[in-house]
Symmetry: C2
Subunit: 254 residues, 2 copies
């Protein structure tokens, strides 16, 4: 088994997973009971840019058979959050005790994949250089809702030097199943973002004079929408503490 995942399972690694097992696809986790799974799956399908699905497990199974067949969803993430009726109830390092036969796990793509590709192409990313969390905003752009799951798009923003913008669009377009091309370049107010220095999530970031704010659909969207639906129980990874799959960045989006 992937040694980094084994270290997480043994409790030897309890920190965020950024930089861990580089070139391996990392994933967001959302677990919901089966009665909510159809609507949540439909929400993801209707909003593929913000909710790129890597895998959906069978009900009651904690094995992601396609993306990490020797993994255990209940133990292989450094830190989990348990939400009840839309409120954070607990943060734990193992959810074996909580597991139910009707649980379905959704693994959703994370921007680490395209960020690696951007940096490999010589496009610097300030939040990584500053060891901060990426800047994220709630927008006024409605997602396509499904049943109880309704809400607005969340975007991440990275300041990109003007002459790097075309390459940044090209490179991220090559990962259509990992958020893909930006949703917008340069006009935050058209997304309903009033103050770039007051993001709803993550850390604010400096935008230099020769840089343009570029906005990508963000994987926080489905979590936020699931929270707003106030379902009886939902379990996610803790921010930054992702699930590491066996898939390679180079296999994604083909």
């Amino acid at each position: 088994m992937l040694k980094e995942r084994m270290a997480i399972r043994k409790g030897e690694w309890t920190k965020p997973t950024a930089g861990l097992a580089p070139t391996h696809v990392q994933a967001n986790l959302v677990i919901v009971p089966k009665k909510h799974a159809y609507d949540f799956l439909l929400f993801c399908m209707r909003n593929p840019k913000s909710c790129p699905l890597i895998e959906v497990t069978d009900a009651g199974s904690y094995t992601p058979v396609s993306s990490a067949p020797d993994a255990d969803i209940r133990t292989d993430i450094p830190r989990y959050r348990i939400f009840r009726h839309g409120k954070l109830a607990d943060e734990v390092m193992d959810i074996t005790e909580e597991w139910r036969e009707d649980f379905i796990s959704f693994l959703i793509g994370c921007s680490f994949t395209f960020e690696n590709a951007l940096r490999a192409a010589g496009i610097p990313l300030r939040h990584i250089e500053n060891k901060q969390n990426v800047t994220m905003y709630e927008t006024n752009v409605p997602c396509h809702g499904a049943g109880d799951f309704q809400g607005n798009l969340v975007v991440s923003m990275r300041p990109i030097r003007a002459d790097h913008v075309p390459a940044a669009v090209q490179i991220t377009s090559a990962f259509p199943t990992m958020h893909g091309a930006p949703v917008q370049v340069g006009y935050p107010e058209k997304l309903g973002i009033k103050n770039l220095q007051a993001p709803e999530y993550g850390d604010p970031v400096e935008i230099k004079e020769d840089e343009i704010p570029v906005f990508w659909a963000c994987g926080v969207t489905p979590q936020l929408v699931a929270l707003q639906a106030k379902i009886e129980i939902m379990i996610t990874h803790a921010p930054g503490h992702m699930f590491i799959t066996d898939l390679l960045d180079s296999e994604i989006g083909r």
Copy 2:
């Protein structure tokens, strides 16, 4: 409303839709009752190359709000097939009488989109020149199953001149949500295809000496798998009689 769709609704066009409303995305239709919808949706999600979803309607709604908001799923297809317990029960031009409040419609991409792009790039397609149906085979490659929906991949095959193969791969790769890149080039026996001249669906096609058989995932896969599941009722379009959406080929796969 799109005039071609209006002609279909009025019963003035009852033939196959190939060549109708060119540049508009056409779609396969599969209608299943809500109790089967989660498994069918999960099957499509787990097999995105053969089952590229364009839209899934809300239960009981016959309006595809994203892809053709003024359309009526019950009347706007020239010809429908009604299957009961996996057997063809009827072929009709209107399903208004059959409609149920628990029906969910799946619109699934069709290869017309990438075929238009291939031909625009000067890559001829013999089945179109011969006014025949594309050649299709059942393979021995298992799909990722979901609940009752289990089965093997169906592929379409087009003979491509050897020097055109790289461009054919590049062009179809640009439509990841419309079957995307080929699944294989040149080795039918590795897919379990014993005799290229005996396809399971469509018409056999000549393969000239300087040509290579190229195989793409095929939208017949989900229909076949749904049939094999022998659910109590399933309604589809009749082969070649597709649903014409408002979406343009140029909008797809972004």
